[in-house]
Symmetry: C2
Amino acid sequence: MEYYSTHIGKLIEELGRLPGIGPKSAQRLAFHIISMPADQVKQLADTITAAKTNVQYCRICGTLTDAEVCPICANPARDHRQIMVVENSRDLAAYEKTQKYEGVYHVLQGAISPMLGIGPDDIRLKELMQRLQGDVDEVIIATNSSLEGETTAMYISKLIKPTGIRVTRIASGVPVGGDLEYIDEVTLLRALQGRTEL
Amino acid sequence: MEYYSTHIGKLIEELGRLPGIGPKSAQRLAFHIISMPADQVKQLADTITAAKTNVQYCRICGTLTDAEVCPICANPARDHRQIMVVENSRDLAAYEKTQKYEGVYHVLQGAISPMLGIGPDDIRLKELMQRLQGDVDEVIIATNSSLEGETTAMYISKLIKPTGIRVTRIASGVPVGGDLEYIDEVTLLRALQGRTEL
């Protein structure tokens, strides 16, 4: 590409590899980065390197964290007898934002997907079963409401049931603010099946 | 944010400052970067730093380039008597992609915008006038077809006219593949005014 400097071309290429960044966005981002003050650019580059270098998986729940044990697992004020099983750290963050969940988490780092060749041994199920040998009252399965998430939920519940620990699944239904008109039939049916007394 | 590691939080914040990257995209990008192999992350960070450090403005045309003079200005095969005036390096790149323009460029690094307080002295007009003291046949004004671009085009043409150098403006009209039904009235009118003999 004669019209770009080699360095800009490389930067556009690198940025274009990130998910959701097309060639046009990559170009815009690259030119923006070039126009940023040098110290801000340095900070961006350093933050990227630092995040990759310092972030690790929590020894207990498996979420991404700075220390050996994440702040949630290390917090004695949380209810360690209630474990919510999520697919990834982003789902954990989503529930943490509600600020209403007092228990701890278990991050599977994936979901069972026969299509993608991901089996029960490829996600952190063994680690979950090990945790259940401790003092646990309830396992709340909060995997996504997708085919993979449902399969994983089903598998986990069958695995845990024999231990006698209570296994629950988060409710499926119409999202708050959702317009019935635009919601798919399966969700509507789930909402009906899961109706509660008023 | 207890639910994120400090490093991920910082990375999300840094990425969220880039244009067109909202909080959700920043989060997705951050988690993607964490999951990338360490050498790829290093490469991304290094490319960002290298681009900022090594890219400079071409001494002649003002585009972003690796050397003191950009490959286009340094190319003796190009017609240096024909100068296309563009607002920024991205616009230059857009015309270069056509692979049909044989002349050179002049990058204004902006456009006159009274609203944003950008006057004629804030863009590279002085540099353009200096170049015109050399051997120049034609100045093609290819600023955007926006209010600012048109204002700038008008200003430049008035500035150059007295020198006797030919000043032209790229055509405005219906984009190729465009459907008349969805094109605004001003563009339709411009297309009519600029009609050519068949």
